[in-house]
Symmetry: C2
Subunit: 627 residues, 2 copies
């Protein structure tokens, strides 16, 4: 009989969405397993662009440094268009690649997918989690039993896993990438296992088995845009070969994405109509890497472009733009990443969207599994991420159409103007950087008192700012205090405690927090550490020369390291603009709740705290002793 076991969370797929979820859950101490059908991690090629918001997310898990150190940084975006004299292309402009002014990292990072996944695999290993491979799911069933589904102690999802003996990935002779397992190999292996899970995450890619088994439909369709991609080390006199560069030439479009070391990724639009095969798929076998390189070469004239070596990796794909109708079934099985949405890679969104799906879901699973929050919380995953995926597809359609369109020239007046193309990219900077993403009002996102901190948009990520730790005048990026540790951060902008009147307000808040009915006590499990669920931070408006951490009431200050002030750092390089940037009154202050994933979810006044507003807010979804 096949072995059988229980697990709290089973993750199927160890691509970007899977490893982000695996790492987040493992580092939170959740009982989790992660399986993947590939016998080893990806070594080259595949998706590789990390957006500014995703770098912030990496940083919140302590993983940004390795990404930034090993990856290539893209700071500038260059545009090339046909010269008036018809002799090839010339630079039209060079502009910042990231235009979102509040981005903490004003660049994108490119690094091959294997290296990015390795960052997570190494971190997971430190938390005792390894990817089990090669393993494929055979079946997945969710219990129909209402009681079982409602119980927090049940394991209502049954998954049968097949352990493959020595499966290898099928590699198409033309280099077209595929994750399909050779069916012959698949059936020849004999080891089966049954897993009973509380929750399952299907992070198993565009051809998701989990999505298919549960009958979740995709909306949208394939387009006619066919692209060829090569990873290479070119020899060239093209001056922008190390910048992200969009070339519109009379010989087609080309996108340059510089990579780590001297590597470059080239995207070229394949102009020809391709044959359709018996499965209704475009036959990409006519496309060769030589053809792709030749097209890139022609689009870059009059500059030279040579390829002394064979390309390290290459592929050819038809753009699909589709979103799953549902991201969850009964809030027991979820899908994330390419299983939910597919789109073109040129906007560099794929891996980012995937990882942020998991980042959104992981803390919610941890909360419900620990009994901290009601299972209702899990409904916000689809609400928040499906809306984002649809917006992404809309943006991608516009971009793909513009990019595939020929440039405006004297011969082709109806083509895409440089102005139009650059305009779209620049206007969508908040979206493409991931910085502007705003989650809709819900159980956890309450924009009622937005006016108390208009600069901290409720539903958006907490805006970076440098603040000063009072006790030792050390500057801190506030985002580095709002880490992804599954805890809520409640930031008390307390004004100036050196003002007698304000000191009284602060003391009243402190006294309130010491009461057993306060949110921090009520929603923290009995016997757990005082700060197990909530981290309380204070940010005063006192000058650093006068501020004393001992001025903050003990109810608000659990440790000397939790008291900050908004002033210029000693080195004068940053700081002193938090109250202004957030739009918070430096006399009366405000209280801002930040979700465990770094998004602003609620704002109220200091007076609201003593009248129980925080208990009311958290009471909507947190489970308390006296709830």
């Amino acid at each position: 009989m096949a072995p059988s076991s229980n697990v709290d969370v089973l993750i199927i797929g160890a691509g970007p969405a899977g490893v982000m979820a695996g790492n987040a859950l493992a580092s939170a101490g959740v009982n989790v397993r992660i399986v993947d059908k590939r016998p080893a991690k990806v070594m080259a090629g595949q998706a590789d662009g990390i957006q500014p918001r995703t770098i912030e997310v990496f940083q919140s898990y302590g993983l940004a440094r390795r990404l930034i150190e090993r990856g290539n940084q893209m700071h500038s975006l260059a545009f090339y268009n046909p010269r008036k004299d018809g002799k090839g292309v010339e630079r039209t402009s060079r502009v910042p690649d990231v235009t979102a002014p509040s981005a903490r990292y004003r660049f994108e990072v490119t690094l091959h997918q294997g290296e990015i996944e390795a960052i997570f695999l190494d971190s997971m290993r430190e938390h005792g989690l390894e990817v089990e491979r090669p393993i494929v799911p055979e079946s997945i069933e969710i219990s129909e039993d209402v009681e079982e589904l409602a119980s927090k102690d049940s394991y209502p999802v049954k998954v049968v896993l097949r352990h493959l003996a020595d499966a290898t990935l099928e590699t198409a002779p033309n280099g077209v990438h595929t994750n399909d397992i050779d069916p012959a190999i698949e059936s020849s292996s004999s080891s089966l296992e049954t897993v009973h899970a509380k929750y399952v995450l299907g992070a198993d890619g565009a051809h998701s088995f989990v999505r298919g088994s549960l009958g979740i439909e995709l909306e949208g369709e394939h387009t006619d845009h066919v692209w060829g991609v090569v990873d290479c080390v070119p020899v060239t006199d093209f001056p922008d070969i190390r910048n992200r560069t969009a070339i519109h030439s009379d010989f087609g479009s080309c996108m340059i994405i510089p990579r780590e070391g001297d590597k470059v990724r080239l995207y070229v639009q394949i102009a020809e109509e391709l044959q359709v095969d018996e499965h209704g798929r475009k036959d990409r076998s006519a496309v060769t890497p030589e053809k792709v390189m030749e097209m890139a070469k022609r689009s870059m004239q009059p500059f030279n472009l040579e390829f002394p070596d064979k390309p390290e990796w290459w592929t050819c794909y038809v753009i699909g733009q589709r979103v799953a109708k549902n991201f969850s079934v009964k809030e027991r099985v979820f899908i994330a990443g390419d299983a939910c949405h597919t789109h073109s890679p040129k906007a560099g969104q794929g891996m980012n969207a995937s990882m942020n799906d998991s980042h959104n879901l992981a803390w919610k699973l941890a909360h419900v599994l620990r009994g901290w929050a009601s299972p209702e919380l899990l409904k916000t995953y689809e609400l928040e991420r499906r809306k984002y995926a649809r917006d992404l597809i809309d943006f991608d359609k516009k971009l793909a159409d513009l990019f595939s369109g020929k440039a405006v020239t004297t011969e082709n007046a109806t083509g895409v103007s440089h102005k139009e193309f650059q305009g779209l990219l620049q206007s969508m900077g908040g979206f493409t950087s991931g910085i502007g993403i705003q989650y809709a009002p819900s159980l956890i996102t309450d924009p009622t008192a937005q006016s108390l901190a208009p600069g901290l948009v409720i539903g958006q990520r907490f805006l970076p700012q440098v603040i000063i730790r009072v006790a030792d005048t050390r500057p801190y990026e506030i985002q580095d205090l709002l880490v992804s540790d599954t805890k809520w951060k409640v930031v008390f902008f307390v004004g100036d405690p050196k003002e007698e009147k304000q000191q009284a307000v602060i003391n009243a808040v402190g006294e309130h927090l010491l009461c057993s009915k306060s949110f921090a006590r009520r929603f923290t499990p009995k016997g757990a550490a005082q700060d197990a669920v909530f981290t309380l931070l204070t940010v005063s408006s006192t000058s650093k020369d006068d501020a004393d951490y001992t001025d903050i009431h003990p109810g608000l200050r659990t440790h000397w390291s939790k008291a900050f002030t908004d002033d210029l750092a000693i080195d004068g390089r940053a700081g002193g603009t938090a109250y202004t940037t957030y739009g918070i009154n430096p006399s009366s202050g405000a209280v801002v709740c930040c979700r465990p994933d770094g998004y602003v979810s609620f704002v109220c006044s200091l007076q609201d705290v003593t009248s129980g507003r925080l208990e009311e807010y958290f009471g909507c979804f947190m489970v308390g002793a006296s709830a």
Copy 2:
């Protein structure tokens, strides 16, 4: 018969000076051994302050990150003096701890010595070097043979080492720290080894065996100042317990040095006259940790200070202020660190002076061992570091006297005024931070053309500035290009190559560099990589929007990553002030030579390059094919 072997460099002692040298030489690929008498690395206590310049040096070896992450940062310096009402002390002021405006890191780091040494031990291990312990030197002899001493292939230093079987450090019952090996244990072990070395570095501490064996005398003397030190985790309402704080009270002086975590180091002046023992040493056995803590407590009144736990470490010492008469014998044996100089720990200079001794010496040894430079180069070690050590003792005397003096009060008008004390600390900011250290003119330090770059003081470390890499607009701290890799960095400030006239000047320099007689070719060994000895960098004054790395002549641009420009970074946070700060004319430019240890050593014009000025400069000490 005892085993015998050869080694290029033998380092005796694995304290701060020893591990800095070991790591520098091992990472340079030099054949090196390092031995230490302690059976294991230091676990607590001892020296622990790292100055801004030393952090820059750590960074140049790629080691600053771990130091900064694990250590405590001191940004502010607070002063407490007696209240007018006689009821204890109050804060007089809180000022920046680091006042050197050009410091890249505007703070000091405190971390216990064992953790600091571990940074180097781990790095050394990556380069294949482990400390051999417990081992003590038995004898050291330098050959008298003139020919042997002059030969670059000889091993003229003979050291007999004793491998200790199971030695343990002698621990005095009163907690006084000692490195002395119990003589009984020492003689009972039987394993001897003979090492023949090209060079020996004695980094074996204040009681240096190497210094003693070679008869190098110490100049200076012990003082009457006796200090007690405790490492503890206090419970207190003293608001500046996390800042470096100097307290002058009517009950004595106390210095607070915050440490990693919640730990604090307290220095207290022991007021009583101590007995002198039979060896002429002050008898410190009357001092107990309880006494030290009681004195700290009294000096901090009216604030509370409690010690719930026993101190983690404590000691008591008499300040000695001495400098060795020589730092080298025949440029075959060198001493570094406490073996050369001892002084009070309050200025936090000890470990910094020690590490910077080795940092100064290591690249010189590597150059001479590789046959790149004449052995004359090694004479600059004593010249540069002994001058610094003497300046340090002078500063330390002033500081110790001021700090030991009582505060000015109504009863004690002749005491030390707050103004006087703060004044000394602030005015010496360049010195205490290590930033202002300037090496005297010598074979390698030629200030003739200082006026071409008055902001880059010849003999001082290369001033930090953010510059922009042309090819990808990525900002770089120039210090991160001037790494401690034993290579010379020649920085060509080329002006604007988009100006036709300047382009011609640049091209002439590029052509010159391609000639076989150019310094870069002449002083790079045949068969070695083109950039084995010299790294060539260019910094233009072109705007980043227009700059093309392809504008730089191939003789000056060995790779796209070596061309930079002086402009504001894309994120607007830094950059664009290099030419101004360095005082270099943005039209005509200048050439700046930076030593492998990061110190500016020579400046000339671009025109000087074509007339052979660089060949002349390097020809003074480098050994070339045609020299």
